[in-house]
Structures are given as structure tokens and as C-alpha cells.
Amino acid sequence: MKSALTDACTLRLNNFEGPFDLLFFLIEKNKIDIYDIPIFEITEQYMDYLAAMQELDLEIASEFLVMAATLLHIKSCMLLPKHDDTVAEELDPREELILKLVAYKKYKEFSQILKDREAAWGRVHYKLPEVIPAVQYDDELEVSPVILRQCMVEALNRSRQRMNDVSKKMQRILDHERVSLKSKVREILGILAKGIRFCFSKVFSPLTRSRIEIATGFLALLEVVKMGQASVEQYVAFGDIYVTPEKTGKKRDNRKIEKKRESDLV
């Protein structure tokens, strides 16, 4: 036996998207305030729909049955007497369902907006793209600010290192000159050892020696004089320098060494 409701709603049955959709339909149909759902009526109508679906041999999706259970549960909760007076405000058993329905309603409404917009914007037309031949264009630079900074830092570090290198080189030149000075001292001492008095400009002649050698030779001569190994004479300013071996100097040195030994023994 088919109820009137079954007849009226046969066409719609398959069109419900889900239990919310069906509930929403019932709320709209009965012009019910969504925030104050008369749960007894709604549950009854909902169950009628499920019954109608059964009569029509429609497969009832499990979600509809879950909702039926939820509605029945809420209904029973509301039937229970509120025995505890100390709880000021009992939680409305409908609350969770209402919140879900409100959320659902929002999206349902937006669905309609989407549908309208689709219709409106379906009326604009686009032009097919032209064939534009691909061309190789100026290369685009791919650069990074981080690398830029890194380059600056590295350039500076290298620059500093190079400056340190320069000072090392200078040191080496100085070291080299020191060796050179020693060798010139040795050279002069060698000549003096032969007991020969000699003219400086003859030995360190600009014809055979570099300017630096002559200058170093002069410094070596001063060293030798200081050591007491030679005495020098110059008769005119800028004239020749004559170097004479000094015997006493060596003796003085020997004495010094002996004294040192004595002190070591003490």
C-alpha cells in the first residue's frame, strides 16, 4: 500500500544528495526555524521518507540510516525528564545536529551562487591563440644576491692574503740582503787576512759590481771597522777609501773569549 507521501515524493527520492539534504528539504518544506527544529515532527517525516524508499525497493544508503538513528537518539534524549536541577543549563541534544545543518546550508547556498555564476560566465567567449613562432631571445641572466655577496667577501679575503704575501716577499728580500751583507763581510775579511791594504773603489768597482752590491759592500766595510778588523782613511771628500788590516782587533776578540770561558767556570 502506497501512502500519499510516497506518491508525492517518488520523483525526488533519488535526488537527495544525502541525509542532510533530505533533512534540509523537510525543514524548508515545513518552514521550520533551523535553530529550533521540532525534532518529533522532523523525525517522523524523515522515517516516512525512509519507509517510502523501502516500499519503492530503493537501496537506502547507510548514511540515511545513521541519520535516522541519530534523530531517534535525540528524540529519546528529549523525552527523558531533566532530573538534575543543579546543572543550570542542560546541553540541548539537538545542538550538534543544528550546527551541522547550518554549515551544510551555507555551502548549499553557495552552490546556487556557483550555478548562477557559471551560467553568467558561460556567456563570455575567448579567442583561440594565434600561432606565434618561437624565437630565441636575449639570454635572461640567472643571478643570485647571495653569490654576489659571497664573491665580495672572497675577493676581499684573497686581496688580504695577497697583501700578506707581499710582506713575506719583502721579508725574503731583506733576508736575502742580510745573507749578502754577511758574504760581503766575509769577502772583505778575506782580503784583510792577506794583510793587504786596499782601495775600496778598486775592489767594489762600479764597472764590475751592481749598485746594490757596492752599497752592501760599503755596509760590510763599516761592519768590519766596527769589529775592529780594519781601519779606514779617506783623504778627500768623495775620494777613494783606503782600507788597512787591524791586527789588534783579533787579539781583543780572543781576550773576550777567554774571559767568557773563565766566567763559565765560576
Binding site: N15, E17, G18, P19, F20, D21, A61, E63, M67, E96, L99, K100, V102, A103, Y104, K106, Y107, K108, F110, S111, Q112, I113, L114, K115, R117, E118, A119, A120, W121, G122, R123, V124, H125, Y126, K127, L128, P129, E130, I132
Partner: protein, 179 residues
């Protein structure tokens, strides 16, 4: 050469949307200036007896005909009209649009019904796409809307979505157990 002239020619030739960056590069202006020029053009096209208008699509720009001229264009040839979507599809699309990226479980929570096949349909129509996976247990797939979604529904960007008066929907929804 006038910048508006260049942009008109470029957008006409392209047919497809052209990114703001590309337009800026072509007219050799910065992005801000270029956006200003485009906004100005958009206004002028809109408010003059032009048959076409300028629309923004997710940071790209494109010409299209004004909707009110559709009846005349339809006379040109049979315009192929895309079939509309099912209510389930609009509903699902709404939920994705406002909550993207979003899992299937979340959608089903709101709709109260299995949404597997409707997601497939929306993917086929290129209105949504997968957007990685959620960190939640099981690492469920996430879904988001596409540029085609913006085009079909006439949005410039997702910022154009009308605000849902979500203040009416308390935070309970956010704390809703997912499945």
C-alpha cells in the same frame, strides 16, 4: 609605443591568459606599474562601447567578449555549451573552494554522504586537482580548486569568493571529528 597598445596586441594574439610578470617584461615596466595600466584598461573597456573586456585570472590577464553579447556570438556558429554540474558537484565544489586544501573525509563530514564519485567528476572537469597529502594519519589526499574553476565561475582569484558568514557556524565544526 603606447603601453596599452602593446598590451592589447599581446593579449589579442595570445588568446590564453598572460601572466602579469610576462606583460611587465614585454612593456619593460615593473609589476606594480603594469598592474596599474591593466586596471585602467579594464575600467575603460568595461565602461565604453567595447565588445570585449579584460579579465584577471589568478594573476594572469585575458580578453573575453562581454556576456551580454552572447546572443550575437551564438548566431555566428553553434556555440558548444558545457553541461552544468549536478547539485552534488556544486555542493562539493563549494566545500573545497572555501576550505582548500581539504581531505575527502572533511568534505564527507559536511555533506554527510560518500563523495568519491563526485570528486572524480570534478577532477575530470578540471575544476579541482590533488594538492599533496595531509599530515594526518593515513596521509589522506588533499584537494584544491584549479584555474579552470576561477575561469568557469568568473573569479579573478580565490580572494574574490564571497565571504561565507561563517560567524554563524561556531567552531564546533572545526573540532568535528574527521571520520
Amino acid at each position: 609605443m603606447d603601453n596599452e597598445t602593446i598590451i592589447e596586441a599581446v593579449l589579442f594574439a595570445s588568446g590564453d591568459p598572460v601572466a602579469l610578470e610576462k606583460l611587465a617584461e614585454i612593456i619593460e615596466q615593473d609589476k606594480k606599474t603594469t598592474r596599474g595600466i591593466l586596471a585602467n584598461m579594464q575600467y575603460k573597456f568595461e565602461h565604453s562601447a567595447r565588445g570585449i573586456m579584460l579579465r584577471e585570472l589568478d594573476g594572469s590577464w585575458q580578453f573575453c567578449t562581454k556576456p551580454e553579447l552572447d546572443p550575437y556570438i551564438s548566431k555566428l556558429a553553434a556555440v558548444r555549451r558545457k553541461q552544468g554540474l549536478t547539485p552534488a558537484a556544486y555542493e562539493t565544489l563549494s566545500i573545497i573552494a572555501y576550505n582548500q586544501p581539504v581531505t575527502r573525509a572533511y568534505i564527507e563530514q559536511i555533506r554527510g554522504v560518500n563523495s568519491d564519485s563526485v570528486l572524480m567528476t570534478l577532477m575530470e572537469r578540471n575544476l579541482i586537482r590533488e594538492a599533496g597529502r595531509d599530515d594526518a594519519p593515513g596521509r589522506p589526499k588533499l584537494y584544491e580548486t584549479t584555474e579552470e574553476f576561477l575561469r568557469v565561475f568568473g573569479f579573478s582569484s580565490l580572494k574574490d569568493l564571497p565571504p561565507l558568514e561563517m560567524n554563524e557556524i561556531p567552531e564546533v565544526i572545526e573540532n568535528m571529528p574527521v571520520d
